[in-house]
Symmetry: C2
Subunit: 330 residues, 2 copies
């Protein structure tokens, strides 16, 4: 690998001049030409470490997420990398596997100047380690006023789900949720759901097991067995994620419950496992591309020392699938 010195010698100029050419600083056209020729001839590539040491910029952002091996995160990671690349940034991928220590290790790395900033989607308590001098954007989770976050409009999503079931003819709705206490923005899905039901005087039930309980599946199945299969009290289900929705559907189908004829189901996420994949279930789709775009815009603004809006809430959409009846509106 040739250095700036060698380029300077070959071009018959000084290193300073070469540096100027590289960084697009005014230089006499003729010298510029000579330098560019030398660069080409020597196949010179600036050493990013020397530059990084000097200017303290690496053009690299870390993306911390539970695991890229998940349709939602995969799509998100893909889009974020794409956006970053457009802005000449590289992306270090960090699968935290939801592990607190792994997340911390990555944040430490960030502080060692390995990266200019972090985009994180995490549910552990890394708050104390997130100092305000480290540019960071959070997805789907509120930390504090210092950390801007971008998220889907979960409240609206909950409303849309309830509305979707309502308009498709359901009489008695139900929200099924669970998972970590920390996912405080996804909590709003439930709130939106309830809000719609209250406002429109729809019957509804809530099955929501927060915190980790090993036997969540058992309890949920018991709930379904009683309320849906036996008593037939519920004919519209909003599951907090597509994964839950799928699970519920599989369970009900075992008991010959027809979907959507007898029971209608709406999920949340709208993930596709790849670009060409087709979504089968009715769902509230998160605007993953937009989330990616806003996150990248945010982190770069932060790196550039600009002020960034503390929260960016992005609209969601109802996607008609095969698990709700088709109405005029959908």
């Amino acid at each position: 690998m040739s250095t700036i010195k060698e380029v300077a010698k070959r071009a018959g100029v000084s290193v300073g001049t070469v540096s100027k050419v590289i960084n697009n600083i005014e230089v006499k056209p003729k010298t510029k030409q000579a330098v560019e020729l030398a660069i080409k001839e020597l196949n010179y590539q600036p050493n990013v470490y020397a530059r990084g040491l000097k200017v303290n910029r690496t053009q690299t952002v870390a993306l911390i997420l539970p695991t890229v091996w998940h349709p939602f995160f995969g799509e998100l990671a893909y889009n974020i990398e794409k956006c970053l690349r457009k802005q000449q940034y590289k992306m270090i991928l960090c699968n935290s596997e939801g592990d607190y220590l792994t997340e911390l290790a990555y944040i430490t790395m960030a502080k060692q100047n390995q990266v200019d900033g972090i985009i994180a989607i995490t549910y552990s308590d890394i708050e104390a380690y997130v100092s305000s001098n480290l540019p960071i954007i959070s997805i789907d989770r509120f930390f504090n006023d210092q950390v801007p976050y971008v998220s889907s409009d979960n409240f609206l999503g909950g409303e849309l789900a309830a509305k979707g079931l309502d308009q498709a003819g359901c009489q008695s709705l139900c929200f099924i949720g669970g998972g970590s206490k920390k996912e405080n923005t996804t909590r709003n899905r439930r709130k939106g759901f309830i809000n719609y039901c209250e406002k429109n005087q729809k019957n509804y039930e809530i099955f929501d097991l927060t915190g980790k309980s090993d036997n969540f599946n058992q309890k949920m199945e018991q709930f379904l067995r009683e309320k849906v299969i036996e008593k037939r009290e519920i004919d519209g289900i909003f599951a907090v994620t597509d994964a839950y929705a799928l699970q519920i559907i599989h369970f009900l189908e075992q008991f010959n419950i027809h979907i959507p004829e007898e029971v209608q189901v709406i999920g949340f996420d709208g993930v596709k496992s790849s670009l060409n994949d087709q979504i089968e279930i009715s769902t509230i789709r998160q605007p993953i591309e937009k989330i990616a775009k806003e996150s990248v815009k945010g982190i770069i603004a932060l790196i550039d020392g600009q002020v960034v809006s503390p929260e960016m809430i992005l609209p969601v959409k109802f996607i008609q699938g095969k698990t709700t009846k088709i109405t005029k509106n959908s």
Copy 2:
């Protein structure tokens, strides 16, 4: 961020001594203690750029693949990052989107010392740009003797697929493939399939459209309509990937062909869209974890200047799904 100088001053020693402590070089216990205390007090983190500039090592590897937004690549990326992390390496994720120029840009980046090595899964002709002084491991594709590659045993996979169909009672087999000419290791799936059929005197047909043809789907459907739906000449299909298999199954089901009763189908890849996902179709599963492990082992060995075996072929397994009949052997 504090520097090594400040640590030295606080500990009452020289920078050289601090450096020794950091790099675990013998130092008097007492001084070591003092230095470590100062490090803690100042919350000192070595600057990786200064170190990188000095030792020309970044502890970073680039992973180039078409898109992480794909179950197979997602799983692969997840596992590779996991392995790299265990070895104290970071991973830069590069979605090339199959684009030649993007791949090139990333290779250029690698040459700028941003990364110590590359793990690539690419189908374009980047051969000329891959100089032997840049550590690189290829997955699924042979470039030349200078570039070690790791791959599934595609030939064995082809044999297993044919054997699976045969033992499940199929009389007349068929291979359906297509895609890029460049995927020369996946070509072996076809070879293995043919090999089994020849050796065991099974009837077989090949439908293989190499190169890109816009109307691949049309032609394939026409083929299926004639051979499977109308003439009923084929009762066992080996599709070169799960994606094709799925497509074929959906198509046949439209014509009320029962699978696996009338026609049996085996795919290739065995991808799950997440850890908890369940595979539904019968398939030949690629050992993604092993591929990840071997790639990482390989790239690190290369970085460390060791010699690496030019090819690593890993065994595949037949996975019984719902699209082939169950036999005693399976």
